[in-house]
């Protein structure tokens, strides 16, 4: 299907007033017409907007994670596991939005050559999964501890006498450069580990999905996922901790002190200090923080995704929701037994419906492997995107404070408008000036540049990006692309349709993935971030760019969910299936089209949303 449903990447023009935006991003991320070969390659590939990870345009600094996974995913496919038909995923950027494309192995002979290599290499991982996974967990905990212990402090007027007496031989200026490098290195390394298992996990899952849909053409994807999904998933732990704290508050009778959202966390804690029971509760609250409050209120991909630790009012507010639920006589516990039973029932009964011994054998093989690998798919996010990232952003804020102190930037949050290599250069400028006792050049350059970049970014944000550019392929083999973005003919057609929509106010029907079954009608509430969840009223339908575990308590209040991004495995879909609540995910532009207060009908069986206007 080489008909041009999508514009050529080279046709997209800069938004007026943003000319020169390219310098905010790595030069190799730009589409180019300068070289004929590169231009042809770019035109013939299919580039889709990675709105799953980036519902908003990229800040120059935040692109670090994009570069990190660009490298990590690609290397594992192409050079380490030798996935036979799939190389890496290539990246570009247009007007601040990241576009990606899976790169296939086009030569059939080359595919054949890669097969035995893949069998040996991937085979080793599948066979030694548990052992390697234990090792992985140790590595992850190791780098998390490294980053937690990394000190990035202000530069002193005069070095401490200990520098002399210990014969240290280095200065705080040098340490700053070194630790900044180390911080970045830890981040990149963390993302190397992130992909060690992920694609093998997806490959196994995709194969199981393929078998199930061939054997049972009507099987909903959610049922397949339910058959392999873990039950004690680490991502539920933070929320479980809040439930425990809610119960404890009631047990200790200190729920009146917890009060309502009008009461700030500091006030609550200081009041609780006044009583024995209050102190008991504070101990439990403090214990829960590490590591469980390192959960991001967003996806963790963006610097502005604060963790619970960064804003303790967020978990406290969730505890209040749980207290109310318990008081109203409702159960807040996940129905573990029921979930386990349902899972077992699905596995046994689908298996029983197979008609040949061969099929039962294949089912057992593929289900077994998927079940083995799936916990990783579900759990890695806690370590990487939540725990590691939450610590990482704050370490970067330490760097920002130093830059602010030296007038390189006006506010700490300005640092995100600089790329990581620009920061490195600026730090050189800063420490050499500090060392020399002169004024750096940075204060003359960066504040002005940042002011301009802020203007550009604002325009990027107002712009609605095209969902895809280039030429759609006939076959996609890259497991990541299939599972995460759900790139299928259907989704591409849906995107093509969306692209043609000029006026979002005229859209009455939206389509996404059927994330969780059921049909519900209700009033929509658009929450762009977790900060908006206070606006949600009981029984409304949540419309959000995406959700994360820190949104968990919200699910107790609402009766349906619509998200812009995400496939069948996204957080919203998983949680809604558990709560038995309909969800349509990956609608592309749900938050752009649906407005708070609109009456919508959400069909989690078909993935359709109707808007009443």
């Amino acid at each position: 299907m080489a008909d041009n449903k999508f514009p050529s990447p080279h046709e997209i023009e800069a938004i007026p007033g943003t000319e020169g935006w390219e310098r905010m991003y790595p030069y190799h991320y730009l589409f180019t017409t300068k070289d004929k070969e590169r231009k042809e390659y770019e035109k013939n590939a299919f580039w889709f907007n990675d709105a799953l990870h980036y519902p908003e345009p990229m800040y120059p600094f935040d692109i670090i994670w994009d570069e990190a996974w660009f490298l990590a995913l690609s290397q594992f496919n192409t050079r380490i596991f030798m996935i036979p038909p799939a190389l890496g995923i290539d990246h570009r950027i247009i007007n601040g939005n990241v576009y990606i494309t899976p790169v296939p192995v086009t030569d059939p002979e080359e595919v054949q050559k890669r097969i035995p290599l893949f069998m040996e290499r991937a085979g080793y991982y599948y066979e030694n999964w548990d052992k390697l996974h234990d090792q992985w967990e140790k590595k992850m905990k190791g780098i998390i501890s490294d980053i937690e212990n990394l000190e990035i402090g202000p530069l002193p007027e005069m070095e401490d006498i200990s520098v002399v007496k210990n014969g240290l031989g280095t200065s705080s200026g040098y340490e700053l450069l070194k630790n900044y490098d180390k911080l970045i290195d830890l981040g990149i390394r963390c993302w190397q580990y992130h992909f060690e298992f992920l694609n093998l996990g997806y490959a196994s899952y995709v194969t199981f999905v393929d078998f199930c849909t061939k054997a049972f053409p009507d099987i909903p994807l959610q049922k397949i996922t339910q058959m392999v999904a873990g039950i004690d998933v680490i991502l539920y732990r933070p929320d479980d901790e809040l439930k425990k704290l809610a119960k404890l508050a009631l047990e200790l009778g200190i729920d009146p002190q917890i009060g309502s959202d009008a009461k700030d966390v500091e006030t609550v804690i200081s009041e609780l200090q006044g009583s024995e029971n209050g102190k008991k509760w504070i101990t439990a609250w403090d214990e829960a923080k590490y590591p469980w409050f390192n959960i991001s209120t967003g996806t963790g991909w963006y610097h502005q995704d604060l963790s619970w630790n960064d804003n303790l009012n967020v978990p406290l507010s969730s505890i209040r929701i749980y207290i109310e639920k318990i008081k109203a006589g409702k159960s807040i516990d996940r129905p573990m037994e029921k979930i386990k039973e349902e899972r077992k029932k699905l596995i046994t009964e689908y298996r029983e419906l197979l008609t040949t011994d061969e099929d039962r054998q294949t089912f057992d093989q593929l289900h077994g492997t998927s079940e083995l690998v799936f916990p990783y798919v579900e759990n890695h996010m806690f370590y990487v995107e939540h725990w590691f990232h939450s610590v990482f952003w704050n370490k970067m804020r330490n760097v920002a404070s130093i830059m602010k102190e030296h007038q390189f930037i006006k506010g700490t949050e300005d640092i995100w408008y600089l790329s990581r290599s620009e920061i490195k250069e600026a730090l050189w400028d800063l420490v050499t000036a500090w060392a020399t006792g002169t004024k750096g050049y940075g204060p003359l350059h960066w504040p002005e540049e940042i002011k301009w970049r802020k203007g550009v970014y604002k325009k990027f944000k107002e712009n609605r990006p095209v969902p895809a550019v280039g030429t759609p392929p006939e076959v996609i083999a890259e497991p990541f692309t299939i599972v995460l973005w759900g790139i299928t003919n259907d989704s591409m057609t849906a995107w093509a349709k969306l692209k043609e929509i000029g006026d979002p106010d005229k859209v009455n029907e939206l389509e996404g993935f059927a994330g969780s079954p059921g049909v519900v009608e209700g009033i929509a509430r658009v929450c762009r971030s977790v900060d908006d969840i206070g606006d949600l009223k009981e029984g409304e339908i949540l419309v959000a760019p995406t959700t994360s575990p820190s949104w968990a308590p919200v699910f107790q209040k609402i009766k349906g969910v619509v998200t812009d991004v995400g496939g069948i495995m996204c957080h919203a879909a998983i949680v809604c299936r558990e709560y038995g609540m309909p969800a349509v995910v990956g609608t592309g532009q749900g938050t752009a089209i649906i407005k708070s207060g609109m009456k919508i009908t959400l069909n989690g069986d078909t993935g359709k949303i109707n808007i009443e206007r």
Binding site: M1, I83, P84, A203, P217, D359, L366, T369, D605
Partner: protein
Amino acid sequence: MEKRYDYVLWFEECDLKSIPLVGGKNASLGELLKANIPVPPGFAITTRTYERFLEQGNIKKEMFRILKSVKTDDVESGEKASKTIRTLIESTPISDDLQDYICEFYRRLSKKCNVPAVPAAVRSSATAEDLPGASFAGQQDTFLWIRGVDGILNHVKKCWSSLFTARAIYYRAKMGFPHDQVEISVGVQKMANAWTAGVMFTLNPATGDRSTIAIDANFGFGESVVSGECTPDNFIINKITDEIIKKSISHKTILYTRDPESHCVIKQSVPSERTDIQCVVDKDAIALAQIGKRIEKHYGKPMDIEWAIDKDTPGKAKIMILQSRPETVWSDKKIEPVMKARSSALEHICAGLVTGKKVN
């Protein structure tokens, strides 16, 4: 006087063991009820009633005298005998005590259905039906939309007499099957007064997926769905989780119903306010699918089922199964594995990767 159990039995009281008393058809309705499959309610008038009727009417001797005169090579003699015997049976009054049993049960059936003088199907149920090589199934008559005690009694006699059609007489004579050993029971069953009806497959007829149940439904009797005269509402239900996976609500134009005057089945337009609404609510569609699952389990194979949702019967029992037979299209296909067997999951994964996923 003997117990009523010798003369009339609710279908619930019948099972395969009671074939000699209630015949094959009635017994199988009892079996379905035992498997929790709802069928329209009704009762069986036993073979004992038939015998007692012959005794009380004192007509047995006369009948067998006539039958003896029938020659196997003479079709005409058979037909003549048939006519005489049938007239004899139909003109002989049923005794008061037997009438009491039948009428009382009919009254109770009407009460059960919340309909005065409930329209019923009166069907013969022969004991020889299930004998190998001597299938009399379908040789006895069925009478539909019969109302009132007189109608019931008359048609019960018609069923009894249907044991003596020329064909049945000729057949028994030819097979050397003694006439006095064939007995007959009669079933009186509520006519399904369908609000909606249709068919159900315990697999998806479009894809062959055995994890789903497909239901086609329209207002009125099932004829409009069976004949394909109407695009029905369609439900695809997951057999394992009892969830509706897919639902298409069609524009329904015609329906079949009963003319209240003539009791004939007539075709009508669907009232305009109902053409586009879902004719079976989700809850009922799911309940129907659950029944479908039980029927499939009972027979051990995918089934093709005719069903109705009754207008009269109150409560849960309103869903009724009218007929079920084995599905043939997908079930008769050669069974082949979904995927070529391989020695390990890894082999499958590798093969899957190499094939990739077709985008269109």
